[in-house]
């Protein structure tokens, strides 16, 4: 039974909150129970940002992850240090290997190293590194239909930014491909 508890973390400006919201929206659109909980504080661009996302078949009791994440998506090194210990044994870690050289030292979790920034850069837009990572996450965990996530993005972009859908779709596919090579 689906009961995803995902921590998404990085620095402000990497689109972490948006990643979480897209997963949440996609889950809701698939008629799953969902919640999105941001960390908030006296934060600023470049500071830390993280959010907890729940996607479940059952109503969500506590929306907070406390040492029971099924997946962690870490977009920078401080996030990896802080949140990898929160993942349950048998869970997944998704590491943005463009910004993190270190390896995850736990052997009871499955780790995927996705060079998000490089892939985004090759596609010509650094801002889509987050979509690369979401592609990898969905490919591995199969917790959501990829189209649901892309539809959620389309909704978020709206009419004015609809032209960005193509490159985001590409980024998502590239991320999935990078993950597939490591499965």
């Amino acid at each position: 039974m689906l009961n995803e508890r995902v921590i998404l973390a990085g620095f402000g400006g990497q689109g972490i909150m948006l990643m979480g919201q897209l997963l949440t929206q996609a889950g809701m659109d698939e008629n799953k129970e969902v919640s999105w909980l941001p960390s908030y504080g006296p934060e600023m661009r470049g500071g830390t940002a993280n959010c907890d996302v729940m996607i479940s078949e059952k109503p969500i009791a506590s929306p907070i992850i406390s040492n029971d994440a099924t997946s962690a998506i870490v977009m920078n090194l401080p996030s990896m240090v802080k949140f990898v210990p929160e993942v349950v044994g048998g869970g997944y870690v998704f590491v943005n290997s463009s910004l993190i050289e270190e390896k995850v030292e736990r052997d009871d979790v499955t780790t995927y190293y996705i060079p998000c920034n490089e892939i985004a850069n090759d596609l010509g837009n650094m801002k889509i590194a987050n979509m690369v990572m979401l592609g990898a996450y969905v490919e591995v965990t199969k917790s959501l239909d990829p189209e649901s996530v892309l539809n959620a993005l389309e909704k978020k972009l709206g009419m004015t930014k609809a032209s960005l859908m193509g490159i985001n779709r590409e980024a998502f596919a590239k991320g999935a491909e990078a993950a597939r090579e490591q499965i």
Binding site: Q21, T24, Q25, M28, V34, S35, W36, L37, P38, Y40, G41, P42, I60, A61, S62, P63, I64, S66, N67
Partner: protein
Amino acid sequence: MSKVLMKGNEAIGAAAIAAGCKYFFGYPITPQSELPEYMSAHLPRVGGVYLQAESEVAAINMVYGAAGTGKRVMTSSSSPGIALKQEGISYIAGAELPCVIVNIVRGGPGLGSIQPAQSDYNQSTRGGGDGDYRLLVYAPGSIQEMVDLVQIAFDKADYYRNPVMVLGDGMMGQMMEPVEFKDDLPKMELPEKDWATTGTKGQRKPNVINSLYLAAEELEQHNIRLQKKYDEMKQNEVRYEEYQIEDAELVIAAYGTTARIAKAAVDQLREAGIKVGLFRPITVWPYPYDVVKNLPESVKHILCVEMSMGQMIDDVRIGNEGQRPVHFVGRSGGMIPTPQLVVDKVNEILNGGK
């Protein structure tokens, strides 16, 4: 209507506007600022007014004035901001005017922190202002429930001519959940607002809105009348949820965010075969004392869980009437209790610990 994914603070704003709220006066403070932000964007579109006051004290007195005209009005703030509003809240209650006040609680005392807390329980249920007054206080446990209760709150405020408070916390304000704006919420039959100061047009005697009664006899009569109103609320407005109580050996009492965490703990403990239930007050004033008083025979312990050093526990003790030991576990200052903390405490109690 279909579901939409919304942040708690924004959902409160949307719910208030759906309930016919036309006026909002406030002053920004984390973690509720998305609510005034939402109102500033959306109230003008429905012919309403959003005004950022120069202070919380000014904002609540603007609410006082607007409420006097009989229009639906709201203010929101977080803990120290609500503390500043207490004088105005007492005046509004004394003058018997309807309004809705939202408190998205953060850690205290003083300026405290900006993280979630439940340490304004006493301030909300005992009244931080002067005099014998009460607020109807809703403590929703999800964003959907918050949206429903905000809409109901406006009706109740009009019906009782009394301020109604919606008590959330930083987590409720900041998190996103799917919400549905229902058009089938129970609507109340509301009397005409013939007390409002809308201009006599030479047709009637002026209405006077006031909370000053210099004659002691008159003020006592006023207080007796207010008390009757509060008694009616105690009779008719109590709301709560019971979860897995029937055969429970231990019942957890918790509200709002903490109740969600406690519910996760209950599920975890039930899976391990431990008989635990949850009692969740939805109105924290009037308090569901009878539920605590009449818990099933099987219940040997009550555990109160709060994001404070223990405030609601006093109400649990009042309801309990000394029948069972009442235990406490909580975090404060912006720290959030984990389900594990609750599980450990339950095990400690049931295994004969302190």
